[in-house]
Symmetry: C2
DNA sequence: CTGTTAGCGCCTTCAG
DNA sequence: CTGAAGGCGCTAACAG
């Protein structure tokens, strides 16, 4: 029913092996023969049978990109850039052409592992894990083991936006300097004169959340402000001892709730730092609803510098992560178009972008 | 090196065929035997070889979701919902488990076809095409042919957010009532008293753009306003005769430019309807920069009701598309968890959501 | 440069 | 309910 390699070979009057060779392009074939084969391919509208090809070659042209939430621009931008950089290598014809696909884990450890297994079945050429990692030790172990297996089967593993793995089966890791960016952000607020600064952290037990919180607390400690940076590091879900830190998910509504909670704990806050820009928008909404102006009454800052942040009213002070650039590089690393950084790990700078949503507090001390 | 079905069979002291049967679950196997096999699978940490399985079964468990731009929340939401609804069916174990993956076309006809071909190689269980379609006849023909071929090989084709195809190889089509929603939106503006209404259309030659523009013009015609709705339907790129319609891409920056162009053509505009919410934000930015207030001086409306629209300042009047719901249903249709609507086509309502960004014009006539 | 020969790992009749 | 055998469509050594 469907046309196979043999059909093409027959039409081009060559052996199946020859057809395979011109399609894969990695073997010398006479120009005339190639022409004939290509013509036959076109005439028959032949499409390679991926499974058969992958079985025989013990490798597929699939590249998986794992993200927490595809509807979140943070991941959308990284994934889109990675896909584009991978797709650019397509040679148009039947040959070449890696297929970059993105899979959604929903931020669930279980689904992340499931996705990895499902991908593993396909014997993918590469896998890119985007975004922060869960810090649950069991999950880390499971993930590491899975990735090691993938790597053992020839799959290139690229980590993007998370710290390198201990046992490091990864080809390369591009990790963000969340800590530094976060620290500079809070320092900016402190320099403006703020002393009571609320913090809306991301989901607990994630590398991104922890690193950003650490940066924030380092800034406070550097200025001898606040007592919430106890020896304990990140505290459990909910609020810390002073009620100045609450946790939420990367959603606008979650930020809205979080801001209300912060305000109820300490109505005297003059600034709120949010886990990311989306959350910051929710924070702004809650503030507005309470009749508080941004930044006159309360300053608000986000993180990531997502596209809409520049257009928000007021424009959001945030920390820029070069998501597009990093996604592009992750894609190139995955296909081997770029060599891994020395040591396999590169830390990407996070730069402070001061805009209109932060200003001195109502009454500078 | 890697563990195969045969290894599992040996360990469980059964034949490979039996292992295959318990993994696929679609054949009677004694409970005790199944247990033994499952244990062996776990102990050996066996992972099915997808290519081999797909080759033998002539079908894979891959489901492809094609989107124009994964970084655009419109697609992100649909794709995410589809993936989730598909993933929910996972039976945890080695069996079951479709892998839903999303592919980016970047809105390019060529890449869309390339992606389809790459997917076609995998012999996917289903393909979901999300978002509006290009109206270029050649591309429609090519796409239709490709989808017909996919369908002929047993791939379920689901169209989501675009009109059904003429030759209809699709299992099901969920299409939006862009026209109706758009018409109601412009009627809302007219009822408010607006007469000079600028229109920032989406990319030309796309079903979505055309349908929304048609709705807009139908509203104008219904109110005997404007002469731009000539017999010609959508005009070429750029501005129409009166300069009241300009085209742009679904990006904030593009909306910004478009608004400036509209204003330069007709500074007397009292309202601007944008192709979507993202574009509307760009329009607002341009207006603000010109010293025009929204909605006091100029009303602005978007489309889609993306999450950030409710939080914009002012909150954006828009037309809500149930993206999440539609994505979920597309996923269910793809896996056969839901029966296709009668006739295979269902039109999804687009409901007007009036918010703060629209108000009567400065001077009602 | 090209043809021939074996499988890749699994599913699926067919027997038992 | 379980085992044995054949082949899915392609690639990768080998020859020539």
């Amino acid at each position: 029913m469907t046309v196979t390699l043999v059909d093409v070979a027959a039409r081009a009057r060559v052996s199946p092996a020859t057809v395979s060779r011109v399609l894969n392009g990695n073997y010398p074939v006479a120009a005339a023969t190639r022409e004939r084969v290509l013509r036959a391919v076109d005439e028959l509208d032949y499409v390679l049978n991926g499974p058969a090809s992958s079985l025989a070659a013990a490798a597929s042209d699939l590249i998986g990109i794992l993200v927490d939430d595809i509807a979140d621009p943070f991941f959308g931008i990284i994934a889109g850039a990675a896909q584009t950089s991978i797709g650019d290598g397509v040679s148009g014809r039947a040959g070449g052409g890696k297929l970059a696909v993105v899979c959604n884990t929903g931020g669930s450890a279980e689904r992340e592992l499931t996705c990895l297994t499902l991908l593993q079945r396909q014997r993918p050429a590469a896998v890119i894990l985007a975004g922060g990692a869960l810090e649950d030790p069991r999950h880390i172990a499971a993930t590491t083991a899975k990735l090691a297996k993938l790597a053992a089967c020839g799959t290139a593993v690229v980590l993007c936006g998370r710290p390198p793995l201990p046992g490091g089966p990864a080809v390369a890791t591009l990790t963000f300097d969340h800590r530094g960016g976060s620290r500079r952000l809070t320092e900016h607020l402190i320099a403006l004169g703020h002393r009571r600064i609320g913090y809306v952290a991301g989901p607990p037990d994630r590398t991104t959340t922890r690193q950003r919180l650490e940066g924030h607390r380092a800034a406070l400690a550097g200025a001898r402000i606040g007592g919430s940076e106890g020896a304990g590091g990140v505290e459990g879900v909910g609020a810390d001892r002073e009620g100045l830190t609450v946790y939420c998910t990367y959603e606008r509504g979650s930020g809205y709730e979080a801001a209300r909670e912060l305000l109820s704990h300490d109505p005297g806050l003059t600034a709120i730092v949010a886990a990311d820009d989306t959350v910051a928008l929710g924070v702004c909404a809650a503030l507005r609803e309470k009749g508080l102006r941004v930044p006159e009454d309360v300053s608000v800052a986000g993180f990531d510098d997502l596209p809409f942040s520049a257009d928000a009213v007021p424009a959001l002070t945030t920390v820029r992560l070069p998501l597009h650039e990093v996604g592009r590089r992750a894609g190139r690393l995955a296909v081997g178009a770029e060599r891994p950084p020395p040591g396999g790990v590169e830390t990407i700078d996070a730069v402070l972008v001061p805009r209109a949503s932060t200003a001195p507090p109502p009454r500078v001390l």
